[in-house]
Symmetry: C2
């Protein structure tokens, strides 16, 4: 893109310790719960009288991301975002992360700096401290493993297992966009493979491409729920698609669910991409995944409270007895069973 | 080894959720600080009024381990052990771990069960709970990322930065054995490559091979220090060799060090292997790494206390002014500067 000459420093020139120092230098710890960040055998944190939540995710080049169309800074940002999303899915406030990467010799110090720049921006935006990690080499490609820690007052975590019959099922934002963006990027990649000089015009797909490349954890929704005094009975983030997530809740809460297709929030751009591909946008929402929205259930008595945050969330159905199963009330097709078709990293295709 | 027919289940048969369920089923959470383990978006833990320490390590096939001579159960055990060693290096008691793995299609469900069996045995031995993780596929080989959490009373962590002039430098166990074991295994691998029917006789190398394949975190040393009321001024674990570790302490504590070569504890088998290779065992201790012993400094006034644990530790030198540098007092060669030659994952060789 830019014409300036870029410096390319091989990873071997700095060595492990030099590389860690250079990559983590732009980071500052800001949380009072961070006693000691990067630079010792462990980080030291305090819980400030709260409970802590811990989550971890491993992202592998060629499986979870494609560097042909994923800028490294976006990848760094997204890697943090998906972990913070898990913290949010407990109703907790994220406070610290550790970042481990394995990179092959095809990566330069400068390219890893781009990755860490994305990580830093996500940390900065969500007031999260980078407190540790590991940096090593790999035989091929890039692997990123992030662990995120968050705080929550004792007994306030929203687990998958707490849904009750009669609960309203709510979802934040809109669904299916990340998958629509993925489809657009895949299509552009194929064009690029045939003609490397092609200049993709992605303007009309900006929203869905952003949903795929730069998801945001819904910390705003968590904070708003706290502010309004709404304690979700159960909560999960939408990483594998609505089908998979509602089944997790029903399975762990031993209940059923009824979801109304007409209520599922879908953006116009998502609809447009689905149409271009002769597919149904509902399928993107149900089985696409990677939207990182929050799916949660609340006591029906909280309906008036949730009405104050309809900019953030949509009520899409309600929890039923387990014997009633997990159903989608179709717009045209009537009542159908919800089946998990979420992403299987092990499936050959 | 065994003649019974082994079942081989491809990873794709179970899918991600089925695989996680199967691998984590044999694990039980035992710590009172574990409120919620595997099975939700996050684990939930309490700190029970203590500070928490957090560390993470990423292990990559072909870089950190060689499956030609590393049984998967040993690898699982070692992956946990090296992380617990970092927790011990703060003077903390390990309580929880998360385990993330990426495995290519060459691995079967049964082979990953072996890996998790080793992980389970390490958890069981050190009373650590597995509380979360991620399981996914990779394009090639195996990647393991473990995060370990431990507890320590407020203000009691021993950091690298706390060494003071006059401190005694102590090290637990003996050094260089893991590197000697690595040399033996590499040699056997070369023999095996030439003649796959060769049956290696490793009996006379059992100690050093064990040091390489099955290191133990020195939680016993941490507990003994607590029991005797010894608060190390500084501490680090020996993962990259004594040279590298003492330089970390000197660098972060702004001091120098004098180490006596004659005092460095080296096992007879390590000496034997060094001799076979026409090398100096001191080099194994200084630059070999992977011993996972604890290197720490204590107030000289604690010498009588440390005398009660000479089964565990050896005093190998003392801390000096920074201006005096970091020196090894050689048995024959006189006083020489200590230079880090620890392992560089990025170095091509």
């Amino acid at each position: 893109m830019q014409n300036e000459k870029k410096t390319i420093t091989p990873l071997s020139e700095l060595g492990e310790f030099g590389l860690i120092k250079r990559l983590t230098k732009p980071f500052e710890c800001k949380n009072s719960s961070t006693i000691k960040g990067v630079g010792d055998d462990c980080a030291i944190i305090t819980s400030e009288g709260k409970q802590l939540v811990v989550t971890t995710d491993l992202l592998v080049e060629g499986i979870h991301f494609d560097l042909v169309y994923t800028p490294l800074a976006h990848l760094g940002y997204k890697s943090v975002a998906v972990n913070l999303s898990d913290v949010c899915a407990m109703g907790a406030i994220p406070t610290q992360i550790t970042v481990s990467i394995a990179a092959s010799a095809k990566f330069s110090v400068e390219s890893l700096e781009q990755l860490y720049d994305g990580i830093r921006r996500a940390c900065s935006r969500y007031d999260v401290d980078l407190v540790g990690g590991d940096t090593t080499s790999s035989m091929t490609g890039l692997v990123i493993c992030i662990t995120a820690i968050g705080q929550i007052p004792e007994g306030k975590a929203s687990m998958r297992s707490g849904a009750k019959v009669g609960d309203l099922i709510c979802v934040s934002g809109d669904l299916g966009g990340a998958y629509a963006g993925f489809q657009v990027l895949q299509r552009e990649k194929e064009v690029f493979m045939v003609n490397p000089n092609s200049q993709p015009d992605l303007k009309k797909y900006d929203y869905v491409v952003d949903r795929q490349l730069k998801p945001e954890p819904r910390l705003d929704v968590v904070r708003k729920l706290m502010e309004l005094g709404i304690q979700p009975h159960s909560m999960i983030d939408v990483s594998d698609g609505l089908s998979s997530e509602i089944l997790h809740i029903c399975d762990q809460s031993n209940c059923g669910a009824k979801i109304f297709e007409s209520k599922i929030p879908i953006d116009a751009q998502t609809e447009m991409v689905a149409e271009e591909l002769n597919l149904d946008a509902t399928i993107f929402a149900m089985n696409g995944g990677e939207d990182y929205e929050l799916l949660f259930t609340i006591d029906a008595a909280d309906q008036s409270k949730i009405a104050q945050m309809l900019d953030y969330v949509t009520i899409i159905g309600y929890i039923t007895e387990a014997s009633e199963g997990c159903k989608l009330m179709g717009k045209a097709s009537g009542c159908i069973d919800i089946v998990a078709q979420g992403w299987n990293a092990y499936k050959a295709d």
